[in-house]
Symmetry: C2
Subunit: 517 residues, 2 copies
């Protein structure tokens, strides 16, 4: 069984059902599938062949889904650019992956003009809205191509996609996923992440270039309609949930927090929700409790990374327990347990599983694990050892196999010889009633090397002073890891996917220093 | 991911939960797993090595499950003997597969004495109840072995099991399944056959040597308790469903029919049922309607065969529609649609998919398809062509992909040059109010070569004469395929798994004839 057969069979099986809802446009599986085939054949007509990289620079849209599935059918490696990033970032990635084509949405016409001279390797600039000099019109490409099943022979070891990951240091690296990896991801979604619910409806409220987009095929196979919001907006998201009776969606933790804090929340009917997957960044337990109180037991945590896509540890809704048995309640702080078909361990430096409660690194093995980093054999060798992907995440595991992510190995603070994991300190700060979001980082300290600093934002309408928070910490956090300084800011720097960027919080304090610890 | 890791991880995860209920004995996952490891190590201590065949002759019991999982861990190929078959049948299979060990239950001590001289190749006769001369005591074997994880290195291409299938002609053939096949089966069960339900409980009421036993691993992984009934008995089955709040079980169609006809049915609470899988033989639509009326929408049809295990086409409970939309209702007569990860087609003699409504042969491809028949390359080549398993089952497929099994290719009746599929005639006979079970076969006819004969049983308390039924058929069945004779009998010959054996019904009429058509 291959991805393409799955896609084609499902298209036939569900052909009269709605596959995509994008604004006023509703495409049936038959129509969407015909467009996908036309796109695949159109791309082949442009001379694109199996293994070629096709990039996409779009906000969420039905075209993102079409590019996704057309690339699968053609064996083209899709490269999803982050719509929130700058043209220079795109240029780096496009050049690094050697893209031959770029599909772009109307919002990116200016970026494209900057990119043309910067990335001469791109032969085809494909606009989803209209044409122009040196631009292929997406709809014209489809109209001129046949709707027949594409003829490419695609195997499990053919490239499926490159996902660019920046990590905390260095230039972005392209995570190479082959079709076998993506098939494993789909299988894992079907078994562990999306238990079928009656009348399922998926909403893409978070970027389809990121986690949300990874959900496309599993839902396509099940015949589930996928509702597309062009970009993240709390009110739009809530309105779509109510209007389309959405049952499942992906949200970054920051999006969950924003929804809970949304002043108009009570005006929307969100009772259709049943499986709201959050992940991609730590979810503070206090914020999670608030979300559960407001939305009910509909949340599912997912832990994963593109190197071992997409979710390999999960805490299902029924294990989001906020009352009763303290053992079960404590698991709210965990990422959950490994999914069925991914081997996941927490190991010491020698690769041996750690004892319950001991810290180690999360590693994973299985058909989902990436082939390696694109043209970066050294970086690949650092993380792929004997088939095990080393995630760089430090965690503990309890007697029952629940995994508690402590922090990124590289974001550990070393102060006076002690190892401090920022997330642990952040979790305590989150229990302060006025704190909304927080980043704990290490800043230069002549005595201790680094000292702990908390940079935070406050909940709307609530007040606290930096001094008050320092005092508050003194009562709750052991001396060696207690923040020595606190700074209240209006906003924290975040990635396009809503992840708080500690390295950007940290950076200004280290300006001009050669050694960054 | 391999089967062994799945088994071990689940044992740890669910260690305090109940894994098996066998009479008064309740084994936790921890205890059952320890026994499995001990058995695997004990078998290794006897000198059994990866690839060796270990046979099992038992009624349903916790030991069947233990042998099943211990063989997986050790890479031993398990051969499950049919408890209802004769010693001569066992002898043939044991010699054919070259079994080195036989695990047997107390009911089979006499058979074993007959088998000892007949199958000298067996080195270890392992009794689950007590020892004797030349017999290894199962419990002593476990007690003397360590509970450590067995050390065998087992891969996906190592033999998992041999399933002996008799087919309609010739000696039984051993279907070779490797661990990769069984892993695919488990994956398919998890995705398509057993949608997780709250508080699932599995009942083995049908033989674990057959379909029911194939459910063991998927439920073990999910942490679902497995209740074991030694052998099929309607009252015991109903009592167990009520007592253990059973949610899911496998039943042969004849078992479903027997349950519905059971006079004490109303005394039992069967409201816990949610996913009753039936298959292995045709299910007459009229009997299915009765079952749905009585039990509610809890039935799932599964079509499969050991060569392409285990269920590759399924009609889920929600598609068992008995009222409303006639299109949906008509699907009660279908086996359903292919499961997600099995490619299934209905093809003509040239291997091309047939048009909707046209007859063709069901073929299947995927990781589930057997390696071949044990030491029968010619028989293998007949059914495995270009990776496609040819099932020998004739079917039609409708516009929506629902597959309607017409009949076994080899059981087709040819009368006056017309092809007649017995099942089609049987389905009509099943609509007669007094008919309980029926077998339609071809009997010798000097004019037409074969003529159609119906052999049937009546429902308890209802009466009909052969002449009445002949008249009744005349009004409902086209002349060329109408039964020319009817015989009412007390019982129809059935396989140990409850499948009506048309070839045994047919046989007496062809006695002394050299040509059997």
């Amino acid at each position: 069984m291959d991805l393409r057969t799955l896609i084609t069979s499902a298209a036939h099986r569900h052909r009269q059902a709605t596959a995509v809802v994008d604004g006023a446009r509703r495409l049936s599986f038959r129509d969407a599938h015909e467009r996908i085939n036309r796109l695949a054949n159109g791309l082949a007509g442009l001379g694109l062949r199996k293994g070629d990289r096709v990039a996409s620079l779009q906000f969420n849209s039905h075209e993102v889904l079409e590019v996704d599935l057309a690339c699968v059918k053609s064996g083209l490696a899709r490269v999803l650019l982050n719509a929130r990033a700058a043209a220079a970032d795109h240029a780096y990635i496009l050049a690094d992956c050697g893209a031959r084509a770029l599909v772009f949405g109307p919002e990116f016409a200016d970026d494209v003009e900057q990119l043309r001279p910067a990335v001469p390797g791109i032969e085809h600039w494909i606009s989803t809205r209209g044409s122009g000099a040196g631009t292929v019109d997406y709809e014209a490409l489809l109209a001129a191509a046949t709707p027949d099943e594409p003829s490419a022979h695609v195997g499990g070891e053919d490239l499926h996609s490159l996902y660019y990951t920046s990590g905390t240091t260095g230039r972005p690296k392209g995570v190479m996923l082959v079709q076998r990896n993506w098939l494993a991801l789909v299988r894992n979604h079907l078994i562990d992440i999306f238990p079928p619910r009656a009348d399922d409806v998926l909403l893409h409220a978070a970027p389809m270039t990121h986690a949300s987009g990874a959900f496309i095929i599993a839902h396509w196979i099940r015949g589930v309609p996928q509702v597309v919001l062009p970009r993240w907006d709390e009110a739009e998201c809530l309105a779509a949930i109510q209007r389309e009776r959405v049952t499942t969606l992906f949200l970054a933790p920051t999006m969950v927090i924003k929804l809970v804090a949304h002043p108009g929340l009570d005006r929307y009917d969100v009772s259709s929700l049943g499986n709201v997957v959050y992940g991609g960044a730590p979810m503070p337990v206090e914020r999670l409790r608030e979300a559960l109180e407001r939305f009910g037991p509909v949340f599912r945590q997912g832990y994963g990374l593109w190197e071992a896509p997409q979710l390999i540890i999960t805490l299902p809704p029924e294990e989001h327990v906020t009352g009763g048995d303290p053992t079960r309640m404590a698991r709210l702080a965990s990422a959950g347990r490994p999914i069925t078909f991914a081997e996941v361990r927490v190991v010491d430096d020698g690769g041996r599983p750690v004892a319950p409660g001991q810290r180690g690194e999360i590693v994973s093995r299985g058909d989902h694990v990436m082939l390696g980093y694109w043209q970066r054999p050294d970086a690949t060798a650092e993380v792929l050892k004997d088939g095990w992907l080393h995630t760089g995440d430090i965690a503990t595991v309890d007697e029952d196999g629940y995994i508690y992510v402590v922090d990124r190995k590289k974001e550990m603070i070393i102060s006076g010889g002690s190892n401090i994991y920022p997330r642990e300190v952040e979790e305590v700060l989150h229990t302060h009633p006025a704190v909304l979001e927080v980043a704990v980082v290490g800043v230069p300290d002549d005595t201790w090397g680094e000292s702990v600093k908390a940079v935070l934002t406050l909940k709307p309408g609530l007040a606290a002073t930096e001094q008050e928070i320092l005092v508050w910490c003194r009562e709750r956090i052991a001396g060696y890891k207690r923040p020595r300084s606190v700074e209240i800011v209006g906003e924290l720097p975040k990635s396009a996917y809503g992840k708080i960027l500690r390295r950007e919080v940290r950076e200004p304090y280290w300006q001009g220093r050669t050694r960054r610890v």
